[in-house]
C-alpha cells in the first residue's frame, strides 16, 4: 500500500529494550507456577477450566442416567440435589466465565498488538484465586456438598434447612472466583484501553476484544451484588443475622434480587465473548469482511446495558406487582433486538462468501442456529403470563442450555479449534474435529429439544424422580441418550487436543489466513509476542499486510519493521 513511505520509516526505526540476560528463565513445573506471561496464564486457565468442564459434564451425565426412566433409584435425593448444585455452579463459575477469561488472557494482548497484559502479576493472582476457589468448592465433596441449587435461595440455603459446610464452601467459591474475575476484569479494561497497537482506534479493534471489554465492565458492575448477597448469607448462617429470614424481619426476596442483579448480567458475561469469537471466525472462513462491524460492536454494548435491567424476569412467579412484571417483560423484549441484529449480521457475513468448511467454521455457524432457538424460547419466557406456566420447568432448562451450551460452549469450541494452532503451533485433526462437531450438534439437539416438551407436559426442574403418569418418560430417555452422544462428542475434541499437541501438522504463523494481529507472530508466539508491532490501518490488519507483501514481494518482516513498538 505505502511501500515507499514504509521503507523510509524503516531506516528511522528506534532501538528496542531487550530483556535478555536480565533474569534466568524458570525451568520445569516452577515455570508454570511462577509465570506472569499472559500466554502461560491463559493456558493454565484453559487447562483448569476444561478439567472443571469434564467434572461438570460427568455430573450432568449421572443426572441424565438417573432421569432415564421413572422411579429410578440410581442416586439418592441427597446425591441428586448435590449433583444439580455442583453441575450448575461448576459450569457457570468454574467453566464458562473463566474459560472466556482464559481465551481473553491468551488472545487479547496478541489481538491488540501488546506484549502482555497491563498487570501481569495481578493476572497470575486471578488464575490462582480461581483455582483455589474451585478447590475449596470441590473439597465439599469429601464432607457434604451443597444441595440447595446453584441459585442457593434462602431460607432453604439457611443453616436451619441446609446445615453442614457445603453451602459455606459454595460461598467461598463465589468470593474467590468473584475476586478473581474482578481483578481479571480490571486487568482487561486497563490493557484494552491503554495498550492497543498504534493505529488501532476503537473502530479498528477486533470484535472479540470489544466483547472482552464489555464482559469486563459487566463483571465489575455485577459481581459486587452477589458478593454482598453471599456475605449476608454467611452471616445469616453463622453469626445470627436475619437478612433473609422473615421471622427476624428479613426478606427471602432480597436474596433473589441481589442474586439475579448479578445473575442475569452473568448470562451476557458468559455469551458475549463467545459472540466475539465467532465474529472473528466467520469472516475469516467466509473470506469476506464481517458484515456490519459497527452494528455488531454497538449491539454488544446495547445488550450489556439492557442486560442490567432485566434481572427480575427470573422472579415472575414471586409476589410482585404487575407493573414491575410488565417493566421487566418489556426490558427483556428489548434485548431481543440487538441480539437479532447480531444474528442477521453473522448470516449476512456468510451470505455470498467463499466459505471454507473447516472445523472452527462448523462450530461458529452452529452458534447463531442454536442461539436462535434459545432466543425464541427466551422471548416466550419473557412474556410473564406465559412464564407463570413455564417458570421452573424443563422448558427453562432447555432454554438456558440452548443459550449457554448452544451459544457459549459452541462458541468456545469454535475458538478452541480456531486458536489452538496459534497456541500450540500445531493444527488439530480436521477429521476428528468434524466428527466431534456432528456428535455434539446432534447430541445437543437430542438432549435439549425434547426438554421443551417435558417442561410443557408439566415436569419441574431439579427433581430426582418423576411420575410415570406425567407422560415425560420418553422425552427423558431421548434426552439421556442425546446427552451421552454429546459427551462422546466432547471427548473426541479432548482426544483431538491431546493427539494434535504431539502429532498435529505444523501450523505456521497464519494457517487460516486470519484478519487480526495474532497471526502476524509465530505459533506459538515468543514470550514478548511481537518483535515489531505493525501499524494498524483497518479492522483487518493482516489483510493489509498480506496485500502489501503481495504488492512489494518482500518478506513480511521488512514491511512491519518500520513502526517502533508503542509499549513493552
Amino acid at each position: 500500500m505505502e511501500a515507499g513511505s514504509a521503507a523510509e520509516r524503516r531506516t528511522a526505526a528506534r532501538p528496542e529494550i531487550v530483556l535478555h540476560g536480565l533474569r534466568q528463565p524458570q525451568r520445569g513445573w516452577l515455570r508454570w507456577l511462577t509465570t506472569t506471561d499472559h500466554k502461560r496464564i491463559g493456558i493454565l486457565y484453559l487447562f483448569a477450566t476444561f478439567l472443571f468442564f469434564i467434572l461438570g459434564g460427568v455430573e450432568a451425565l449421572i443426572m441424565r442416567l438417573q432421569l432415564a426412566h421413572a422411579d429410578n433409584t440410581l442416586v439418592s435425593p441427597e446425591t441428586y440435589n448435590g449433583l444439580v448444585t455442583m453441575h450448575g455452579t461448576t459450569m457457570v463459575f468454574l467453566f464458562v466465565v473463566p474459560v472466556l477469561a482464559g481465551f481473553g488472557n491468551y488472545m487479547v494482548p496478541l489481538l491488540i498488538g501488546a506484549r502482555d497484559m497491563a498487570f501481569p502479576k495481578l493476572n497470575a493472582l486471578s488464575f490462582w484465586l480461581l483455582l483455589f476457589g474451585g478447590i475449596a468448592f470441590y473439597a465439599s465433596v469429601f464432607f457434604e456438598p451443597p444441595q440447595a441449587g446453584w441459585t442457593m435461595y434462602p431460607p432453604l440455603s439457611d443453616d436451619a434447612f441446609t446445615g453442614g459446610g457445603g453451602v459455606d464452601a459454595w460461598i467461598f467459591l463465589i468470593h474467590l472466583t468473584g475476586l478473581s474475575s474482578i481483578i481479571g476484569a480490571i486487568n482487561f479494561i486497563a490493557t484494552i484501553h491503554n495498550m492497543r497497537a498504534r493505529g488501532m482506534s476503537w473502530g479498528r479493534m477486533p470484535l472479540f476484544v470489544w466483547t472482552i471489554l464489555v464482559y469486563s465492565y459487566l463483571l465489575v458492575v455485577a459481581l459486587p451484588s452477589i458478593a454482598a448477597g453471599v456475605t449476608m448469607l454467611l452471616t445469616d448462617r453463622h453469626f445470627g443475622t436475619g437478612f433473609f429470614d422473615p421471622a427476624a424481619g428479613g426478606d427471602p426476596l432480597l436474596w433473589q434480587h441481589l442474586f439475579w442483579f448479578f445473575g442475569h448480567p452473568e448470562v451476557y458475561i458468559m455469551v458475549l465473548p463467545a459472540f466475539g469469537m465467532i465474529s472473528e471466525i466467520l469472516p475469516v472462513f467466509a473470506r469476506k469482511p464481517i458484515f456490519g462491524y459497527k452494528a455488531i460492536a454497538a449491539s454488544t454494548v446495547a445488550i450489556a446495558f439492557l442486560g442490567l435491567l432485566v434481572w427480575a424476569h427470573h422472579m415472575f412467579t414471586t409476589p410482585t406487582p404487575t407493573v414491575v412484571l410488565a417493566f421487566f417483560m418489556l426490558a427483556s423484549f428489548t434485548i431481543a433486538v440487538p441480539t437479532g441484529i447480531k444474528i442477521f449480521n453473522w448470516i449476512a457475513t456468510l451470505w455470498r462468501g467463499q466459505i471454507v468448511m473447516k472445523t472452527p467454521l462448523y462450530f461458529a455457524a452452529a452458534l447463531p442456529a442454536l442461539f436462535t432457538i434459545g432466543g425464541i424460547s427466551g422471548v416466550m419466557l419473557a412474556i410473564f403470563p406465559v412464564d407463570w406456566y413455564l417458570h421452573d420447568t424443563y422448558f427453562v432448562v432447555a432454554h438456558f442450555h440452548f443459550v449457554l451450551f448452544g451459544g457459549s460452549v459452541f462458541g468456545i469450541f469454535a475458538g478452541l479449534y480456531y486458536w489452538f494452532p496459534k497456541m500450540s503451533g500445531r493444527m488439530m485433526s480436521e477429521a476428528l474435529g468434524k466428527l466431534s462437531f456432528w456428535l455434539m450438534f446432534v447430541g445437543f439437539l437430542a438432549t435439549f429439544l425434547v426438554q421443551h416438551s417435558a417442561g410443557l407436559e408439566g415436569m419441574p426442574r431439579r427433581i430426582y424422580d418423576y411420575d410415570e403418569e406425567l407422560g415425560v418418560e420418553v422425552f427423558n430417555l431421548i434426552s439421556t441418550i442425546g446427552a451421552f452422544i454429546l459427551g462422546v462428542g466432547v471427548l473426541v475434541t479432548l482426544v483431538n487436543v491431546l493427539w494434535s499437541l504431539k502429532n498435529g501438522r505444523r501450523a505456521g504463523n497464519d494457517p487460516w489466513q486470519g484478519n487480526t494481529l495474532e497471526w502476524f507472530t509465530s505459533s506459538p508466539p515468543p514470550p514478548n509476542n511481537f518483535d515489531v508491532v505493525p501499524r494498524v490501518r483497518s479492522v483487518e490488519p493482516m489483510k493489509d499486510i498480506r496485500r502489501e507483501v503481495a504488492a512489494s514481494a518482500k518478506p513480511v518482516e521488512t514491511i512491519a519493521q518500520p513502526v517502533a513498538p508503542r509499549s513493552l
Binding site: 467463499q354 425464541i376 416466550m380 406456566y389 427433581i463 489466513q513
Partner: protein, 308 residues
C-alpha cells in the same frame, strides 16, 4: 484481496482451496438435517400437538396462556425458518471455489435499519397481544350460575373482601406450603382444612392465598395455568375456575426446589359439583370437629394420669 495468496500458502501448511472438500455427501447431510428439522416442525405439531404446547383445559386462564403461547410459537417458527433457512442456504451455496474471490461487502445501512425495525415491530405486536390477554389471565371472573352461591347457608363465610371484577361469590382457600406437603384451609366454621388433596366445586371461582411456613415452594397445577411461589413472609395470589362438566382430578407438584423430597411434594385438586362439594365439606367439618374433641379429651385424660 485475492483469497489464497501465494505468501500465505507457501509460508504455512494451511488451507489450500484446491484441497477443499466440497463433496456431495456433506452437502446432502446438511440439507437432510435441515429438511428433517423443518419437516418435524411442520408435520409433528398435528401429530403430537400436546407436546408442543402447555397443558390447559382446567381453567380459563390456562386456556388463555395456551393461546398466548401458541401465538408466540407461530411467530417463533417463522423466525426460526427464516434464520435456519438463510444460514443453511449460505453454508451450502457459497462454498469456496478455486480462484474466486468473495465480494468484500462490509455492510448495508438500509438493511441494518430494516431488520432492526422488523425485529422491534414483532416485539411491539407481542406486547400488544400480551396486554390484550393479561386481564383475563390475571383477574378472576365471577363464579358461574352453576357454582357455589353465597346464599348457601353453610358457606355464609364465602367472603369477598376483594371481589372479582364482576362481583359475585368466590371461594377463598388459604394454601400453605410446608416441607413436603400442601395444606389447604377453607373459610367458615367449624374449621375445615385438608392436606395434599384440595376439593373444589366446579363453575366456582377459587382464589388461592398462597403462603409458606418454612422454605420457598411453588404452587402449580399445569392444567390450571399459572404457578405462584409460596414465599415465607409473603402472601401470593392465584386463581382458577374449573368449568362445569370438567369434574375430575387435576395433578401438579411443587415447582421450586424445597429440599430433599422436593420431587415428592405433589398436589392434587379434585373438582366436584357444588352439591358434592357441600356434602364433602359438611362431612369433613364434622370429622375434624370430632377428631378435635377426641384429642382434647385424650389430652385431658392424659394430664389427669400424669397428675396422679
Amino acid at each position: 484481496m485475492p483469497s489464497g495468496t501465494k505468501w500465505s500458502t507457501s509460508r504455512s501448511h494451511g488451507y489450500d482451496p484446491a484441497a477443499l472438500p466440497t463433496g456431495t455427501p456433506r452437502r446432502l447431510l446438511v440439507t437432510a438435517l435441515g429438511a428433517v428439522v423443518i419437516a418435524s416442525l411442520v408435520w409433528a405439531p398435528s401429530a403430537f400437538a400436546d407436546a408442543f404446547t402447555p397443558e390447559s383445559g382446567g381453567s380459563q386462564n390456562a386456556d388463555d396462556i395456551d393461546t398466548l403461547y401458541k401465538l408466540t410459537l407461530y411467530i417463533g417458527i417463522v423466525i426460526f425458518l427464516l434464520v435456519w433457512g438463510t444460514l443453511i442456504w449460505s453454508l451450502v451455496k457459497y462454498r469456496a471455489k478455486r480462484g474466486v474471490t468473495a465480494d468484500q461487502i462490509r455492510g448495508n445501512t438500509p438493511l441494518e435499519i430494516g431488520w432492526t425495525v422488523g425485529a422491534a415491530s414483532i416485539l411491539v405486536v407481542l406486547t400488544v397481544v400480551t396486554f390484550l390477554y393479561l386481564d383475563d389471565i390475571e383477574n378472576p371472573p365471577a363464579s358461574g350460575p352453576n357454582g357455589l352461591t353465597a346464599s348457601q347457608a353453610q358457606f355464609a363465610s364465602v367472603d369477598q373482601p376483594d371481589p372479582p371484577r364482576d362481583g359475585g361469590p368466590v371461594l377463598r382457600i388459604h394454601v400453605n406450603g410446608q416441607q413436603y406437603i400442601w395444606r389447604y384451609d377453607y373459610p367458615g366454621n367449624p374449621q375445615l382444612f385438608s392436606y395434599h388433596k384440595m376439593v373444589v366445586p366446579t363453575d366456582t371461582t377459587v382464589i388461592l392465598e398462597i403462603e409458606a411456613s418454612d422454605v420457598i415452594h411453588s404452587w402449580w397445577i399445569p392444567k390450571f395455568g399459572p404457578k405462584a411461589d409460596a414465599v415465607p413472609g409473603y402472601t401470593n395470589e392465584s386463581w382458577f375456575k374449573v368449568p362445569g362438566g370438567r369434574e375430575g382430578t387435576y395433578r401438579g407438584q411443587c415447582a421450586e426446589l424445597c429440599g430433599l423430597n422436593h420431587a415428592d411434594m405433589r398436589a392434587e385438586v379434585q373438582a366436584v359439583t357444588p352439591d358434592e362439594f357441600q356434602t364433602w365439606a359438611r362431612r369433613k367439618r364434622a370429622q375434624i370437629q370430632a377428631a378435635g374433641e377426641l384429642l382434647a379429651e385424650q389430652r385431658k385424660r392424659g394430664e389427669g394420669v400424669e397428675g396422679q
